[in-house]
Symmetry: D2
Subunit: 457 residues, 4 copies
């Protein structure tokens, strides 16, 4: 069989990605796969079905395939108005059927059909859709992990997702122990800053390989000059904010943020527990002592912003963030302010250059933000980093026609851009120009922050 | 080993009842056992655990047993304030752990301990608690069935609970068919009435064998004279109300009921579906054509009351209902107005006399209200019957001390008494004097109605 | 002009009642007349208009009168579905127009038309409607006072409604003063009890003069024997409950009541304020030191029930209450259990016999429950008394045809009967058989309690 | 008395502005001044008091003045956390006291104190605060008008605020009339576009006279090239969107916008009414036939964005908007891309150049957006124009210390910038660089839109 190189590559990635989603659910009990404790958190088996529906709906049905089941379109559509009615989002968690087993059968049925379709695929349109579908499934792999964490984390039994992760614990030992109290109070390293000179910089993706429509269009922006921290804010840094009364003092907070504090009674990041006089953190590897040198995570925009104000700094814009990465990458050093149009250094080269071995999400990882290796600035692979930029279209943004056009553009209101990638992002899914986006109060993703400051005039 | 007769009897019942609860969950997938789509509906695995917790909490722990798991008290307490904190009721459906399997292990552990305890039980207190526990578990068996029905019934796939029930269907055939439209329009039998002369009647339980505290205390009531229908209102009867515009005309409804209609958009009982020009009903045996001669079920108080007004009648009080049963039973015929204090006919004799073979809930039954056999007036075994009586204490009602006292008395506000027993009530759990109670808008139980009318002055 | 006696009497009462409603609003500022801080509390100017609408709708329009304003029917209908659409109840408080002045013009216009209509009235139907309208307006006079109290009472400035009431204060003096702490701790008189022998008693109204449909139909009830306290529970009694931790101990409360305590954070009756180490009570005469010997008021059913449990008693049923009044009235003393059908003592005679001079609501009164005069058992004229009876139809209850039939019957679900009359009830509006009704959590009426207990078997 | 020039100027403005606020409330009845039908809409008398509180709190109290009333600080603080507790915002509308009259007394008391203070004022700090207070009151004058409109507009009687406004009607004549249907269907003028070349432009305020902190800091931005329409979108334009099914087709809408449409049932801008086959618009001058050539108003961001998408355009960013005004002003024509740092043309000169005589809000105006005079591009004085820019800090933004710092900065999340000024903005309050801001779903302000489009690459 004579498959083109791209066909072959996508085939391999399709198989790997499809298998990996199921692998992520292997440690779960069927009971874990059903529930939706908050609207944001979808049932694991819904994720497994929805990503399959995406392939079936946009690739198989247009080719004349019969639907696997006449009602699955209704059950597993997420938000595509073009495709018709669907289960109201908050009701996903009450659909006990189809069972996990039946959904796996649905997956395998569609997998076989997709591989056949791929063999005889003509033209790039089908391959483009397949690649989109692969990235779509990778996005849902990250959601699978964060949603599983939420489901297990609200259970008073604190169940462990996987005991073979770095640092996993079978049962949290909450009996007062010989705590090295120095550990919880230890000093944290200073922040160093990457300077950005005032001037014009190019940002955005050139579009020479896959990216989402919302990051497309390399274009100039004027930056007034700033400094971006070369490390993430850690749990230890954040604890100092808490201990300084950060959650009790309105003047660190946005008005909406202060309302959020009062409404929710928040006193710390999601998953932090103060037990027996000590801070613990629930992780996919169980409940553990808070690791003070690891990046802080599961904070919402309000918390990120409040921390930055308290620290006398601010969040970087998404453009400052992107330019700082480019400047830090070796390839960028020779460029004049990063905007040399003839620059031969690709974004992918920069990405791989600034990303440490330990970053990104592959099997065997911690599935939890970890302290940096020497020299690692943790742009990618630990936490998504809230930026000070609202999620808005780039100049010349065009929504694709049809249902696929509903992917990104219709969410461009009242959300923030997050940059980087987290410990739950598939490594092959990270991109230098990736624009993730969430609303201000969301905490359930692996979200943290990096400080920035304006340069003195 | 020499067990007393009562010990032996309770031992047998305990074993049977405990096994039966698990048998009820056998047709379920683990996924079905987790969710709580509305606050009223608890997850099946929660029921299995909670009834076990009841035995552990009130029988095993006081005897010095170790708790099976230190957090199960918190997880599986329903509403006993005396016992301490508990999972907020609306959150039961997010507790994916312990799994069904772990809960079965909990059950078997406690079963063994209970049987041992029973062997050496001294005095009636332990046996009384055990009997209460058995009845408590039988109550939850009914809830298990109604909650399973709700969970499956909201699924667009309409899954079948058991295909071996009377009248089960594998898949509802919704393709327009040769409908015998006569069937859906057929005339229904006339109502005959059991007359109650004005006078004093004794009601309530004598307390000579197990009953709940709320039905205790045989006492006189004065009845002004009434007539109680000798059959239940059927689906066919109720359809006539619907087709007459019953849900569109405010004057049939209580003010709160009319608000309920407008708020919920109700146009028919729960589980009725109008598909392809025909009425269907979701049952534990799947989606079926509406059976017009079966008793109407899954209506709330507002609907029962509105139907009765539309029909020019009213609901019976709980006393009229009880007296009518006594009058109808052979034993009552010789009595002067049912109040002969020397009446040798026991309530249990009357109960068994007025109950047809087909009534009540045993394995192999329909688990759905069925048309009456000739001569069966369906007092018991089809639907709980809304009465016009608010759920209030009988004269001299006394709440037991301690946690067991929280069983009934604290709910005596803003609920209605329902009498009889449904197709999901364990046959050995039904009693002539049983007082079930629910709030006005509840539909998810097998609830129907029987008409009554005042006698002309 | 020769008016019949009844015509003349109704004419006089109409004029007095209509004037009195306006007099009640005289101390208000126009601003006070608009708002609706909770759904239960209607704007004073809405009351003034709605009672007028009642006369216009049911008396003037059927006689061919032009509506005063084409939209007033929509604006001032309360809950009469028969009459058509109406302003949603929670929106009444945003209707700033018509102004108070315009509504007074509407009133006077209709007053003139009514008086003319009355002159030429033929037959009793018109007169019956007029009498109903007068009583309807008297009901709203009570609501006017309780709603005004609520509107002023939530204002941090604690405005005084009238400074000429008994005990009024211009400004509460909250500066710590020489408090006679003995006063707040003083012992309260013992409870004496009126015994009711077991037996049949007649209750309800004979219908020989005006009463509402819900109290109609003198009929026998069997009472099992009880004792009803000869005085109301006072603020001092109730304070003992509070100080004993009553609001912190679940076992005194109904399940719904305990939820209510936790949801609302209630720690005392409505309008009680603990300021500067002392209890105050907001009254229509301003904020005053709590009067420990006055009847407790503004408690909901849950509080009344919890107090009674804490005290080891219970609430009387509405029948026990009515029979106790009859027994206490001299006229009843000669009766055998109050059921002598030839009893010549009318309900009105009993009412006037048991009602002290100070009871009921006339101009110059305190508009606040007051300590009893010697010998006064305060059945009427201080607080409505929660009973243990659900609000249900009497035997043979018939709803009137048409809109007037919506007056009472459609509310017979999930409410409690209150008996007596309060300090805000017009004296000529009180009746021995009067059945007032409210839902469990309502506190904004002048509602208190009287204890009862079952007799030892 | 020898007052400095600035003192004299501020004194005059203070007197004028304070009087004008009261003048705005003159046509109101006291009843209109109390209510708060939605959280956004504050009671008119609250506005009158709050602006006074602002002067008292920040100018008089620090100078040692006694508070006029000890509780007014609590009652009339809006959102200043620094100042302490305050009435919860949604409860403002239940505070019937102090009355309008009492609030006017409060105003006059503070006016006298302010004038005295101004006489002996030393240094610019006091004068700066006074100027801020004047602008603060002007902002609330706009809110007064929009809130009055909302209060009157929800009343089924459609009361007229002022009958002496241009185009006022005493009573809307809804009787079907000789409608010039051509009028409602007439063609609307074409859009012409002001081109913006790609390049760097300076935006923001130079700070050489009063402006808010959020517009401060003239700074360069890079614009990729765009065209901005030279006229506003009219009611006629917008009607074409409605008639084309705009509110029924999801693909014009942001995801949140489509939710908003479905949740609210919106089918047209706020205040539009379809009566007797014709579109009407509620205005401060009463209910009128929709003026098709006037700018559309009272649309939320979702509607503005949906209209622009439907029209194949987009909203301008706030920078494109500002640059287009500068380019259109004569002073800008000689500039190279508007960024000549030596440009002698001040922002105020441009503002006055591009603003027609009819624009802005002075007594005798229409208080309703009006069709343009020839040559008037209506940048200012008709409607605030939604931009595609999120409300975020300018580079180097610094929040002032203390309570005054809570003015703008803490709202920089999840809101949009609106530019221009409306028919309810005081003319002396408009500025070229003014940044107004509201959340996406707000409709109650005079908000409209102006189209833009990117230039072809």
């Amino acid at each position: 069989m004579d498959l083109s190189l791209r066909q072959q590559d996508l085939r391999d990635r399709l198989i790997r990605v499809r298998q990996f989603s199921e692998q992520l659910c292997q440690p779960l009990e069927p009971e874990d796969c059903v529930v939706q404790p908050i609207t944001d958190v979808s049932p694991p088996k819904w994720h497994l079905a929805h990503v399959t529906w995406f392939f079936e709906q946009f690739m198989l049905l247009p080719q004349g395939h019969e639907p696997f089941h006449p009602k699955y379109t209704y059950l597993f559509n997420s938000y595509y108005e073009s495709v018709g009615d669907r289960t109201a989002r908050p009701l996903r968690g009450f659909m006990t059927r189809p069972t996990l087993k039946e959904i796996l059968a649905y997956r395998h049925h569609c997998d076989r059909a997709l591989l056949k379709l791929l063999e005889k695929a003509q033209g790039s349109e089908v391959l483009d859709l397949l690649e989109l579908g692969i990235h779509h499934e990778q996005q849902h792999q990250e959601l699978l992990l964060t949603d599983i964490k939420y489901i297990l984390g609200l259970n008073p039994l604190f169940p462990t997702y996987r005991t073979d992760l770095k640092g996993s614990v079978e049962h949290a030992d909450l009996v007062p122990q010989e705590i090295d109290s120095g550990l919880q109070k230890q000093s944290h390293p200073p922040f160093n800053y990457i300077p950005i000179e005032p001037g014009l910089y190019d940002v955005g993706d050139r579009g020479d390989r896959f990216c989402f429509d919302n990051e497309l269009g390399r274009h100039p922006v004027y930056l007034p000059g700033a400094e971006v921290a070369d490390r993430l804010v850690t749990n230890g840094d954040y604890l100092a904010f808490i201990e300084d009364g950060g959650y009790q003092q309105f003047h660190h907070w946005l008005a909406d943020g202060w309302d959020w504090v009062n409404r929710t009674g928040a006193i710390a990041p999601l998953y932090w527990h103060y037990l027996e006089g000590q801070w613990f953190e629930f992780t996919l590897g169980g409940l553990r002592s808070l690791n003070l040198t690891a990046p802080v995570s599961h904070i919402c925009y309000y918390e990120a912003d409040a921390y930055a104000r308290w620290a006398g700094h601010r969040l970087p814009t998404e453009f400052e963030w992107e330019v700082a990465v480019r400047l830090q990458g070796k390839g960028a050093r020779s460029r004049d302010r990063g905007q040399n149009p003839d620059n031969p250094v690709s974004d992918d080269a920069i990405l791989s250059e600034v990303t440490s071995e330990s970053a990104g999400f592959v099997d065997g990882d911690a599935l939890q933000p970890m302290p940096p290796q020497p020299g690692d600035r943790q742009w990618f692979g630990q936490v998504w980093q809230w930026t000070a930029s609202a999620y808005l279209p780039y100049p010349g943004f065009r929504q694709a026609a049809g249902a696929v056009g509903e992917y990104n553009g219709k969410f461009m209101a009242d959300q923030w851009v997050l940059r980087g990638a987290s410990c739950a992002t598939a490594r092959s899914h990270a991109r230098l120009t990736y624009r993730n986006f969430f609303q201000s109060p969301k905490q359930w993703q692996f979200t943290g922050l990096r400080l920035a400051r304006s340069r003195p005039a």
